[in-house]
């Protein structure tokens, strides 16, 4: 070749690598709803030239859009966090029946250890339940390669393909060799094919046979898939592993024999038997559920797994080493220090609302977002948190259980993006079934928890094109909520929605604004701690001994004073309103 392709190496996170893999595979359409640890896949994919990438209102829509693009003959990708697959499961299970035209890959980013999630479900089970093959990379390089491979598999076997990562794949960086962009082997175009795309029972039953035949063919393919490989070492210990666990195994047992499975479903039966026969002790190392272990046991092979390796939380090399080899390395225990949980940011517009709610005797059903942090002290103003959109249905259920006694006592709080994701139908239920719960939509003009993504109410798309901004009050009125206001509506015997409009302090427009910083005038502070009840990170309590109190010119009994950290203060002016002694003023310098 006169112009050999230069092998460029870059450090990429797993998510960046998946975006790169999708680009190299010639993906034209990608859709997602943001969710840790999956968010950066679409953010990065959107930066490539000539692609369409979007934030969908929720994961179900994302999969439907990607499937539609596949129907029209282009390669398409949908990405979501593990719980997003629950939302998208409906189209996914039937997309398994229809199969694809352009390659279709669905990324599920699982979160063992619940770094930023409400559960730690193991989405490998979805591959079995939906009868869809699943690839599982073990580092960034494989994340890119497997993404490309997934599109080929998808078209070859006429199936959607799952690509499963975990937090330590998605958010770990490693070196990746970049490749050239390729594309699907046929031009786009929608071809009518009712027997494939119209899943009436008549057609779907025929497709079910196709699905079963496909899974048989894929099982055969798994035997030779290069991502499934045996690394022979010492024969006294053989470990079957996959995903990031493979890295921990290689670290903990560099000399052991390893069967690394790059394909979680279907699994290669003959390869597993060959490996098992070649080692004297066989162990499965996997995070979360005994997924591989159960499969190996079903083959009638003796294997150890979850009796050695924890089923809860993520692994590391030490857990793997001690689980298998026994004993424990002499490691010092962590020091006792005050815990440092996450907190609402200084200046966060949610803080004032939750402070006010904390003074009402109400049940607060919460939802998924930054504001869930209001559940922590000192605000402690949230009673439930289940899943996206659940606050509204939960509130209504509590109302129905308690009857009239619940009037003015139940409030649902939900963010703008979460409301659009899956709160709307809950609100329809309240109106339709004649409830009176109050719903507060915390409209901060962004999807804040995942890093400030655009959503249908922000007036901007993922590709930074201006667009229609969803009219939240108008939507609520159209649903039939007559009382859509910005003041307290708890006691009304009718459904009401309160929308608090205040932009997130992390948005660039807000950060550019110069605002005064506040300070506590030491002479005026009586140490009543009223300001501290806001739980603002910038407000610090300075404790006094009796001697220090006297030295500071205070009564001996005063336990301390408040102080505002000028480096953290956002100038939101919420705390001065709480100080009866007018001790909090704008800082002069």
């Amino acid at each position: 070749m006169s112009n050999p392709a230069r092998q460029m190496v870059k450090l990429l996170s797993g998510n960046e690598a998946i975006a790169r893999g999708a680009f190299e595979a010639g993906v034209k359409v990608a859709s997602a709803y943001p969710g840790t640890p999956s968010t950066e896949i679409l953010e990065n994919f959107a930066r490539y030239e000539g692609v369409y990438a979007e934030w969908a209102p929720n994961e179900k829509v994302a999969v439907e859009v990607a499937l539609g693009a596949s129907m029209a003959g282009v390669r398409a990708l949908a990405a979501m966090k593990h719980v997003g697959v629950n939302v998208a499961a409906d189209p996914i299970f039937t997309a398994s029946y229809t199969g694809v035209r352009g390659g279709l890959v669905i990324v599920t980013a699982d979160d063992p250890e619940l770094h930023s999630s409400q559960n730690e479900q193991d989405n490998r089970h979805y591959a079995v339940a939906a009868k869809i093959p699943m690839l599982e990379p073990s580092d960034s390089e494989e994340a890119k390669d497997f993404t490309k491979y997934a599109f080929e598999l998808s078209e070859k076997f006429d199936t959607p393909v799952f690509l499963r990562t975990t937090t330590r794949i998605s958010h770990a960086k490693g070196s990746v060799r970049l490749g050239e962009q390729t594309g699907p082997p046929f031009p786009p175009g929608f071809v009518r094919d009712p027997a494939k795309w119209i899943m009436l029972p008549l057609n779907a039953k025929k497709r079910h046979f196709v699905v079963e035949e496909r899974m048989r063919a894929l099982k055969e393919f798994a035997e030779t898939f290069p991502g499934n490989r045996i690394e022979w070492g010492e024969r006294s210990l053989g470990i079957i592993t996959a995903g990031v666990s493979y890295q921990y195994v290689r670290e903990a047992f560099p000399d052991a024999s390893v069967l690394k499975l790059g394909m979680a479903h279907p699994m290669p039966e003959r390869l597993i038997r060959e490996f098992a026969a070649g080692v004297s002790r066989l162990v499965v190392v996997e995070e979360l559920d005994p997924f591989i272990e159960t499969h190996v046991k079903a083959l009638g092979i003796r294997v150890q797994g979850k009796e050695l390796i924890p089923i809860v939380g993520e692994l590391d090399p030490r857990i793997v080493r001690e689980g298998i080899a026994g004993g424990s390395a002499p490691v010092r225990a962590p020091e006792e220090v005050p815990s440092r949980p996450p907190n609402l940011c200084p200046g966060c517009p949610h803080r004032g609302l939750f402070y006010v709610l904390s003074k009402q005797k109400v049940i607060v059903t919460g939802d998924i977002g930054c504001y869930t942090l209001a559940a922590l002290p000192p605000l402690s103003t949230m009673d439930t948190c289940i899943c996206m959109g659940a606050s509204i249905g939960n509130a209504f259920g509590i109302e129905k259980a308690l009857g009239k006694a619940a009037l003015g006592k139940v409030v649902a709080v939900i963010g703008d993006s979460t409301f659009i994701h899956s709160g709307i139908t809950g609100l329809i239920d309240i109106v339709y079934n004649r409830g009176f719960s109050t719903v507060i939509i915390l409209d901060n003009r962004t999807t804040a928890m995942t890093g400030a993504q655009e959503n249908p109410a922000t007036g901007m798309t993922l590709l930074k094109d201006p667009t229609h901004s969803l009219d939240l009050p108008g939507l609520c009125r159209a649903i039939g909520v007559e009382h859509v206001v910005l003041k307290r509506e708890l006691a009304r015997e009718a459904p009401s929605v309160i929308i608090t409009e205040a932009p997130c302090v992390l948005l660039p427009d807000h950060r550019k604004k110069k605002r005064p910083v506040y300070e506590v005038i030491t002479e005026l502070c009586t140490g009543c701690k009223a300001c501290g009840k806001l739980g603002c990170p910038a407000i610090e309590w300075v404790p006094f001994t009796p001697e220090e109190a006297v030295a500071a010119g205070k009564k001996q009994a005063q336990k301390g004073i408040s102080r505002i950290n000028p480096l953290l203060c956002d100038g939101c002016s919420q705390c001065p309103q709480l100080c009866k002694f007018k001790a909090i003023l704008e800082r002069k310098s």
């Binding site: 770990a172 225990a333 005050p338 890093g451 739980g535 990170p537 610090e540 309590w541």
Partner: protein, 189 residues
């Protein structure tokens, strides 16, 4: 291992370090978490480099270098240190909610407790150095500069990494921050 408080720019500092190791010809892996943990919570970045790196996570008791951007966070993650490893801590104190609201006290004697883990303890005032540059957000790169004393790369590699990684308008202040951080410790430590 890098440790600190969400919002201190640890992620960016670790990106710059990774870039520098890559330029220096090493295999690099790093791992961190995004999302909820970032909102003012305790955050860590695991960073490993060498001829070939497998695990993106560091085991407790094996870190050659702990760089803490906040003093108490040095103590929280001190058990990750290899016996005889090096601890570098920023003297800055950021109160966690329980301390800020007066339910607990900020721990006293942190340096003494850290010395029980390792005699190789270095404490610097990265906040003062950043403020003297007029950029409080530069604490992270000041810490990278101080940490560079304990890492096998020359100064130029870090500067190249800063230039390669950062948007142009903030390169210069960060190069100054890096040099200021490097100047916080004597050349032979």
């Amino acid at each position: 291992m890098l440790a600190g408080v969400g919002g201190q720019g640890i992620l960016l500092a670790s990106e710059v370090l990774c870039e520098a190791f890559l330029l220096g010809g090493y295999d690099v892996k790093k791992s961190e978490v995004h999302g909820m943990a970032q909102r003012g919570g305790a955050v860590t970045t695991h960073l490993r480099f060498g001829p070939k790196v497998n695990s993106p996570l560091i085991e407790p008791g094996t870190a050659d270098l702990l760089v803490a951007f906040e003093k108490m966070e040095a103590l929280r993650f001190a058990h990750y240190l290899l016996p005889g490893g090096t601890a570098l801590a920023n003297s800055q104190e950021i109160y966690p909610p329980s301390v800020a609201t007066g339910r607990e006290r900020y721990p006293a004697g942190i340096e003494e407790r850290l010395r029980e883990f390792t005699p190789k303890l270095f404490v610097v005032d990265a906040l003062a150095a950043a403020l003297s540059l007029g950029e409080v957000r530069a604490v992270n790169i000041v810490m990278v500069g101080a940490a560079s004393h304990f890492l096998p790369l020359d100064e130029k590699t870090y500067i190249d990494a800063l230039r390669a990684f950062l948007p142009e308008k903030i390169v210069e202040v960060n190069v100054r921050a890096f040099r200021a951080g490097r100047g916080l410790l004597p050349a032979q430590v």
